[in-house]
């Protein structure tokens, strides 16, 4: 008999995402993705000064503050046709790259690795065996027996005291956990090391952005970092060299630990290359602009239809008409008034809440489409598009990772394996390595430009009378983010954010086609409906985050999974 499971919340601070699955014979047969909280944050912006919008938008989300700041200033600059000085582009590009590296490392190790790695099993692993395995996999110097043993002792202390801390609530001992105790122990060791390195890279964001978690250095028209090689209070050469040291330190971790761990987990769980593909239309935007107008980029982007990499069509500038015209959002299955598909500039936000209707309205998230079709966004979309565009570093890291997986799995694993739950993790690791190369490249470009005597970081925006429309897009860690602004006489008239998790977590669209989360879950195995680890694996592989952070401390426990038998 079919069972229905409801997992709510899938995420916590990032907002309330509820996933419903119908399960029959150990497989998901139908799925619904529902945003459980109304955002409507765009309404706060109406009537405000467009130069202030980014300060508000970076508070939309609990995790990705920086990205909303970047997309917002780009939207206003686009509306005004305002060019951005080269130094400002490079500084923004460095913040974007460093933030992406931070986000990808934290996502893999601290938000999703424990879907695959059994911490309790790691207690039984032999440190000697784990160390030998680590040294066989990679030249990383911190795979020594002593360090691994220290991590295991620490874990034993936690488990022994009954205080699992962050590890409470995991599905330890679940039949879908397949790694040996030694592999689990090695991965747990890297979990702890990743905590150190994510802090290192976050310092780059803090130095350039003046402060994290909310950067303060952006401005419509550039950045507020004065550059003067001789002054102590500005961005000096000394500070720039300190940043270079931080960047260099994390490179080895990405290449010799993160990439290797993803390859190993991919090889050990190779059956997961068959699950979770879902929507294989991929949308990605170019990023890291290399000129003042936003017509040349370090990282390409575009659209791939039906998983056919050969069908790639590039998006080439911040003014790309194909992108501007292609994006629409629909509300047939969302808790807003009406049943329409509209362009973000033409949208209205009038809530209309109902009960959860399986065939009607069931989510606060709207349903975005690109040229009428749902699209998956995120590192997988980005990596496939960059690969299709012939981007050198992307090809190098993707092919390298696939070779490593093939060697470990003792079977040829090709690029088609990336259309899967585990493939999204692989693509995120590739993107992290690509971003690290880009970060070094942008650092060098900034140094070279300052060396030429160019210290400009800001162009003053001027708001003419009348109406202007702009879009600012950004390839954020979770995928395509776009902010759409309509300005009337220097004030915001309309503002819409189409965020990555809207693309991925959106409900069925106006043609009743399921969104990427929903489609990716169908066919997933579920060994135990009371412990739907496999559902979490696939949803977590997207790096879910609904842009509506709420952050109340709640001392009481509550159940997150309910199971009922459907008639």
């Amino acid at each position: 008999m079919a069972k229905r499971i409801v997992v709510d919340p899938i995420t916590r601070i990032e907002g309330h995402l509820r996933i419903d699955c119908e399960i029959d014979n150990g497989r998901v047969t139908k799925a619904w993705s529902s945003g459980q909280m109304w955002r409507g944050i765009e309404l706060i912006l109406q009537g405000r000064d467009p130069r202030d919008a980014w300060v508000f938008t970076q508070r939309i989300c609990g995790v990705c503050t920086t990205v909303h700041a970047v997309a917002s200033v780009r939207a206003v600059e686009n509306a005004l046709n305002l060019e951005v000085p080269l130094n400002a582009q490079y500084i923004r590009n460095m913040i974007i790259s460093a933030h992406g590296i931070f986000d990808h490392i934290v996502h893999f190790y601290h938000l999703s690795a424990l879907d695959w790695v059994d911490i309790v099993s790691a207690l039984k692993g032999s440190p000697k065996g784990a160390s030998a395995l680590g040294q066989q996999l990679s030249p990383w110097p911190r795979n020594g027996e002593q360090e691994i043993k220290a991590v295991q002792e620490k874990l034993k202390g936690f488990v022994g005291s009954g205080q699992l801390g962050v590890f409470a609530g995991g599905y330890w001992g679940h039949p879908a956990m397949k790694l040996s105790p030694e592999v689990n122990l090695l991965a747990a060791t890297h979990y702890f090391q990743a905590l150190e390195y994510q802090r290192q890279i976050n310092k780059v964001v803090a130095i350039l952005g003046s402060k994290t978690p909310h950067i303060q250095n952006l401005a419509v028209g550039g950045v507020a970092n004065p550059i003067n090689p001789d002054s102590q209070s500005t961005l000096t050469i000394e500070r720039l060299y300190h940043i270079k040291t931080l960047i260099d330190e994390i490179g080895d971790f990405i290449r010799n630990v993160y990439m290797v761990d993803v390859a190993a987990i991919g090889a050990f769980y190779s059956d997961w290359t068959q699950y979770g593909a879902g929507v294989t239309n991929y949308l990605s935007v170019p990023d890291l602009p290399l000129d003042t107008k936003g017509t040349a980029f370090a990282l390409p982007g575009g659209y791939i239809g039906d998983g056919n990499v050969g069908s790639f069509k590039a998006i080439t500038s911040f003014n790309d008409e194909g992108f501007k015209q292609g994006v629409k959002e629909g509300v047939k299955h969302s808790w807003y008034k009406g049943d329409w598909d509209r362009h973000p500039w033409e949208e209205e936000t009038v809530p209309q809440h109902t009960e959860f209707q399986d065939n009607g309205k069931y989510s606060w998230v709207k349903s975005p489409t690109f040229n009428g079709k749902p699209a998956q966004v995120g590192p997988l979309a980005n990596v496939l598009c960059m690969y299709a565009a012939g981007h050198g570093p992307t090809k190098l890291y993707t092919d390298g990772l696939l070779q490593k997986v093939s060697a470990l799995a003792k079977t040829k694993v090709g690029i088609s394996a990336l259309h899967s739950t585990i493939g999204r993790h692989a693509a995120r690791a590739v993107r992290c390595a690509v971003l690290h190369d880009s970060l070094l490249g942008q650092w060098q470009a900034l140094m070279d430009n300052i060396g030429k005597g160019d210290y400009a970081t800001f162009n003053q925006p001027v708001f003419p009378k009348g109406e202007q429309r702009g879009v600012g897009f950004h390839e954020a860690p979770r995928g395509v983010l776009s902010h759409w602004v309509v300005i009337q006489d220097g004030k915001i008239k309309n503002y819409q954010c189409v965020v990555p998790s809207t693309w991925n977590a959106g409900p069925r669209n106006s043609k009743d086609t399921p969104g990427p989360y929903e489609a990716s879950l169908v066919g997933n195995p579920v060994a135990d409906p009371e412990k739907p680890l496999e559902v979490l694996r696939t949803v977590h592989s997207f790096d879910p985050c609904l842009a509506c952070a709420i952050h109340l401390l709640d001392p009481k426990s509550r159940e997150i999974v309910t199971v009922r038998t459907t008639v």
Binding site: P9, F56, R59, G169, I560
Partner: protein, 186 residues
Amino acid sequence: MLFFVVHCKQAAPIPGTACFIRRRMSDNILVLGVGNVLLADEGAGVRAVEQLQHRYAFPRQVELIDGGTMGLDLLGYLDGKTHLFIVDAICSTQPPGSVVIEKLLDPPAYFRQKISPHQIGLSELLAVAAMQDCLPPSITLFGIVPRDLSTGIEMSPEVNVAVGQVVLAVVKELGLMGVEVGAASR
């Protein structure tokens, strides 16, 4: 208005760690305001920190951070701190606008929530800090019970009052620790 203080003995630090030895030198205090300022009273913790920064001048041993809704990003700020003051909106049976000041013992009840596996929020941040031996030995929660969590940047009147009370309570607590807090220079 309800205002109650729970006095508990201070949680013992883990002896023998490098962090422990460094911390005994002098008090280093982090005042961490958390919350989402776009959701009315949810941002009370951040608003309290803004007011503290605006109205007072603090010595170097006190660091004030607007933590927004972040988790692991804040780990670095806990380094070398002897005291952590968390200012946040809290779920409580107390009426809206109540202030709850509580020393959190180790392991605080706040660590034990059964939430989605391995998502990172404030309680996970503290748990990770504990694993890294960098959890400040003394943690005090300055909680404010919200009324309005709808979208908007204005707080409800009672929570506005409560934020003012928390600001004074933080300054008073610092005073009891012998930390000199002055008026902000204008």
